[in-house]
Amino acid sequence: MSEPAAGNILELTDLTKRFGGLVAVDNVSLNIKRGEVFALIGPNGAGKTTLFNNVTGLFKPTSGRVLFDGRDITGFKPHQVARRGIARTFQNIRLFDYMSCLDNVRVGRHVRMKAKVWDSLFKLPRERKEEERVTEEAMELLRFVGIAKHANQYARNLAYGQQRRLEIARALATDPKLLLLDEPAAGFTPQEKVELMQLVKKILGRGITVFLIEHDMKVVMGISERIVVLDHGEKIAEGPPDEVRKDVRVIEAYLGKSA
């Protein structure tokens, strides 16, 4: 494997996504360093989630390149992207509602499992062993995000905040190198936001790079080392939180141009 340039885990080069006449992501380039928390902010409709979708293979970029861990993954299918080591959560939580929390996380483990149809059909010993191991690992992840006691409940029966946590656990189960969180603190109480920031730090401690979209400035400023600001699909600012906050274009994007 070629050494990724300057320790970047994700490099986007001139990424553009058009929907007909609408340019949702406009020539965005950015680099995310291994082991950092990188935030993507911007007003509603700025193209943040579209950018995520282009990285994770839900959309195919119109032009530009996505380089992950030194390899070109532009235009990969979602499951191929996940296999490479990018996991994500969704802005509007997308859990497997009628499956238990444990099963939700075990689905996340799918991509790291080896059992073939025959192994499962006849419950061969190696399949049993793998199932046991995966169940243990899934329980460990549920404990990690703090919802182990709900392991056997349907995902849909969890409280909102717990569902967000479950989604993170499910994403972590794929053994990602890069975790994409799409507005993880949306709808959270201040207390929950603090807990979320602690959780993100714990995730970082596992050697996982975090790339998040977030509206809440306290959260963004509290945990991210660098920020990129999108407006109308364009990158308008990049840098450490303190600098970005003072940037004139950013203030204009959020508050409108002063006369």
Binding site: G57, L58, P78, A87, Y98, V107, A115, F122, E131, K149
Partner: protein, 411 residues
């Protein structure tokens, strides 16, 4: 962190035991089914002095097999398949053509007689292959669109067997289909033949008890295999796709191959059932695989409890009893009921009144419809939904995990 891990490891064996115990509802259902399956031929033959009820059971049996297979597609993977009978037809014709004089009068001019025990698997493979062939171009479609395509497939396949009459005999059907044979068979009181006797070179030739034993074994094998799949990597992937395809793909599931596997594996059970059907009826005609068969099996799956294997088996048995036993027997029963309660006057036909038996006969489908609507209103989730087990799981297991977590935090 490591504290929590060790506490968890101590906790988990207990949790598994608990799950095992709570799974008892299924164990109980299976237990009852096995006991009933074993006693059924003896009791009914003794009680009715004939094998008519056993013949009914063998027919109910292949519907159970079909329902188990369709449940993989509809219940597990959430793909609405309205043409499931097509795979059943492919299985049946695979057996019929390769185990009858039919091909002698075809352009091949050579009859083939391969043993049932091999053709059973040939039928399975043929149906599974057909499932994959249908699946490959269509599985990109979603929901309603997929249902329409499967509906079309279900209409086309019987037409093909009808139109390729050089090979299949078309409307004349394939007859004189070989019967399965076994080197040794045991007959006993259950088959009305007195004490135990060993029969050498046994032919199933229309023996309902032998067919009954065969289908019970096939169902048992199918249940074990499908249960294994249900609790596996693949089973969870199917359910994930059913719940949210986008999220499933983002978790690394290749949705196309996973759905193909659902179609192929689901179809393979109907291939099994098809071979069995061809042998037991000894006559395979395109008319046996019409839309109504697909719908009947779908009704069995939905009414039984989509996604739950025991529920689907019960659903198939209940619906079979309603459709093929209760409703056809209705006119006769209505007449005897009327006679017994002193309403004998309405029995014979007079003027515009066609007679009670005839009138009940005409109402058959209305009664069937009312039964369906009634059952769906009363239990929209099916007779034995898979949900119940999960809800049961919740209570006890959660408390136990709670204490484990608390211990972990305390230390």
């Amino acid at each position: 962190m490591s504290q929590a891990a060790t506490a968890g490891r101590r906790g988990s064996p207990r949790r598994f035991n608990l799950r095992e115990r709570i799974r008892d509802r299924d164990t109980a259902v299976y237990g009852v089914l096995i006991i009933v399956a074993i006693l059924f031929p003896m009791v009914t033959i003794y009680a009715t002095d004939g094998t008519a009820l056993v013949s009914h059971a063998t027919r109910a049996g292949y519907f159970v097999l079909l329902a188990i297979g369709l449940n993989v597609v509809v219940g597990f993977a959430g793909l609405l398949d309205l043409g499931y009978a097509a795979f059943f037809a492919i299985g049946a014709y695979s057996y019929a053509l390769l185990a009858s004089p039919q091909l002698e009068s075809s352009p091949a001019h050579h009859a083939v007689h391969i043993t049932f025990w091999i053709l059973m698997f040939v039928s399975l493979l043929a149906a599974a292959a057909a499932g994959a062939v249908l699946g490959f171009p269509t599985l990109r479609l979603r929901g309603d669109y997929l249902a329409i395509v499967t509906l079309g497939f279900g209409e086309i396949v019987p037409q093909l067997f009808y139109n390729f009459d050089q090979w299949t005999g078309g409307i004349n059907a394939v007859g004189l289909i070989d019967q399965p044979r076994l080197p040794v068979w045991v007959q006993g009181p259950w088959s009305g033949d007195g004490p135990f006797t060993f029969v050498r070179d046994f032919s199933f030739n229309g023996d309902p008890v032998a067919y009954y034993v065969l289908i019970v074994i096939l169902i048992a094998v199918a249940v074990i295999l499908v249960n294994n799949l249900y609790r596996s990597r693949l089973g969870r992937a199917w359910m994930a796709i059913r719940e949210d395809e986008v999220a499933a793909a983002a978790m690394g599931i290749n949705t196309v191959t996973t759905k193909l596997l659902a179609f192929g594996i689901g179809a393979s059970f109907s291939g099994f059932a098809g071979a069995y059907y061809g042998a037991s009826v000894s006559l395979v005609s395109p008319d046996s695989f019409l839309f109504i068969v697909s719908i009947t099996v779908l009704v069995m799956v939905v009414l039984g409890g989509m996604g739950n294997i025991t529920g689907v088996i019960i659903g198939a048995l209940v619906m079979y009893t309603v459709i093929f036993y209760l409703i056809p027997g209705l006119p006769e029963n209505a007449v005897s009921l009327a006679n017994n309660v002193g309403l004998g006057g309405i029995v014979p036909a007079s003027g515009d009144w066609p007679g009670l038996a005839e009138e009940t006969q005409r109402l058959n489908f209305i009664i069937y419809g009312i039964i369906l609507v009634g059952m769906m209103l009363l239990r929209p989730q099916g007779i034995l939904p898979s949900r119940v087990r999960e809800q049961e799981l919740k209570h006890a297991a959660v408390q136990e995990e709670e204490t484990v977590v608390e211990q972990a935090h305390a230390s």
